[in-house]
């Protein structure tokens, strides 16, 4: 996808493409229908060492670039949105540990390499109104180097399947809601009490019900970098870059199916262009807008990361990557819906080669992953003061 991809990166993209084609794609409909975890595809990614792709080479990892992981998100998204989203969410957590290195976390990254651990996040919380930048639950005061926490999470992506979690919490019992830290806990250090069920409209294979989470951990597993910095420099922009590549993948496959539909119609009636052909052309321009935003944002992200990372704290930069999220999450369903209108009933039915129902439903989750409404509210406030945007 990118021209800057080096040898190791190419291996990652090739593995993603192969697993997407041979494993994720063939299981996608069953994963979707049963709202079950894409265990075959995640198993194949483990076997290929993809879960440690972002871990630096000196810790034994793949040392892959953000471009290559983004390309892998895209390739997986073309065959199974849920598999791609699990991969993306995992890589976001790894990126946070890699971009804010600390000894205790390096130790865990080695374990990710050796055991191909799957890491999830616990950021949403009951009582915060969807604001990731504030927490209710807190880290207790350390006793003999041990701390504990409890958190009520309305959704934990692949919560039953992850080996470890990064959780946002208030720094201490008397800390303000916005004074947060990020905490690593392994499954054997935790109790997870499931809350409610998981029967959503799309992204059904991410299996993200709610949990009440309790954990007791050594103090070193609390990251010393404040979460506000991790969020600004890494978690938020990396999430928006990787997610948008997943959505681009989903929308691209919907477009490809629409194109295949029009081609098949043209073959049946050679001579006259099929009626849907003009709509397909309109759809291409919608897809290319989405692709342009997603790819440009990736390049900008890489440029800033390679230079002065404090720029991620500037309002103009925050607005830029928020806009990526909003634009991509709004445009992906537009493309999927357009594909459905090209394919007509053949796209609406769930069992044709031109079915795009799953794509449309998966893409509809995009505007909810950190609600666009909330991001608009943040942006509206930043726009009051930011100069050049």
């Amino acid at each position: 996808m990118s021209q800057t991809i080096a040898g190791g990166d190419q291996a990652l993209i090739d593995a993603a493409r192969r697993i997407a084609e041979e494993v994720a794609g063939p299981n996608a409909d069953d994963v979707d229908r049963s709202a079950r975890f894409p265990r075959e595809a995640v198993g194949a990614m483990r076997e290929a060492g993809m879960l440690s792709a972002l871990v630096p080479v000196e810790l034994g990892g793949g040392g892959a670039s953000t471009e290559a992981v983004s390309a892998a998100c895209f390739e997986l998204g073309r065959r199974c949105g849920a598999t791609a989203m699990v991969f993306a969410m995992h890589q976001i957590q790894i990126a946070c540990m890699v971009r804010h290195r600390e000894d205790a976390f390096d130790e865990y990254l080695r374990e990710v390499v050796a055991e191909q651990r799957l890491v999830a996040s616990i950021t949403s919380e009951v009582g915060t109104g969807g604001d990731m930048g504030s927490s209710v639950g807190c880290v207790t005061t350390p006793e003999n180097g041990i701390v504990s926490f409890e958190k009520q999470a309305p959704t934990v992506s692949y919560g039953d399947h992850a080996d470890a979690f990064l959780t946002t919490l208030r720094r201490s019992p008397d800390a303000e809601p916005g004074d947060q830290v990020l905490v690593l806990s392994r499954r054997d250090q935790m109790e997870m009490e499931p809350q409610g069920s998981w029967d959503p409209m799309g992204m059904r294979g991410t299996c993200s019900p709610g949990f009440v989470v309790r954990a007791t951990i050594p103090q070193e597993q609390v990251m010393s970098t404040p979460f506000s910095a991790i969020s600004a420099e890494s978690m938020t922009p990396v999430s928006h870059v990787f997610w948008s590549h997943v959505w681009l993948g989903v929308a691209t496959d919907a477009f490809d199916r629409a194109r295949a539909f029009v081609k098949a119609a043209a073959k049946r009636k050679p001579g006259a262009p099929p009626p849907a052909a003009a709509r397909l052309s309109e759809l291409m321009s919608k897809l290319s807008l989405l692709r342009a935003e997603v790819r440009l944002a990736l390049r900008e992200f890489c440029d800033i990361s390679a230079g002065d990372r404090t720029r991620f704290h500037e309002m103009a930069t925050i607005l830029r990557f928020n806009n990526l999220k909003i634009a991509a999450s709004e445009q992906a369903p537009v493309v999927c819906q357009g594909a459905m209108s090209v394919c007509g009933i053949m796209g609406y039915k769930n069992d044709t080669p031109f079915s795009v129902g799953r794509h449309l439903r998966d893409s509809m989750s995009a505007c909810l992953m950190v609600a666009n409404e909330r991001i608009h509210k943040t942006d509206a406030s930043l726009l009051l003061i930011a100069k050049e945007v």
């Binding site: 303000e176 004074d179 500037e314 309002m315 943040t378 406030s381 100069k387």
Partner: protein, 80 residues
């Protein structure tokens, strides 16, 4: 200048505590200032000191404390 900064924070920072109980280098965010409140503080500072911050200054760390705000105001020409 710092009294004027404190006045702005008192009116717009929505801190959990009285700003006068905080040292000049104490974190306003740890004292409960939200991101939204910090934007209002920035706007009010521009108004109160009749200046404009540069884009590169519009970030969380610059509005972390009375000291860091004073330093930023110094950079856009406000004298202590």
């Amino acid at each position: 200048m710092k009294d004027q900064i404190r006045q702005v924070i008192r009116e717009h920072g929505h801190l959990a505590v009285d700003v006068d109980t905080l040292a000049d280098d104490a974190s306003l965010y740890q004292a409960g200032m939200t991101s939204h409140a910090s934007v209002n503080v920035m706007i009010a500072l521009e108004d109160s000191f009749d200046i404009e911050f540069l884009d590169s200054m519009l970030k969380r760390s610059v509005f972390e404390s009375v000291d860091s705000i004073a330093e930023a105001l110094g950079q856009v020409g406000v004298s202590a």
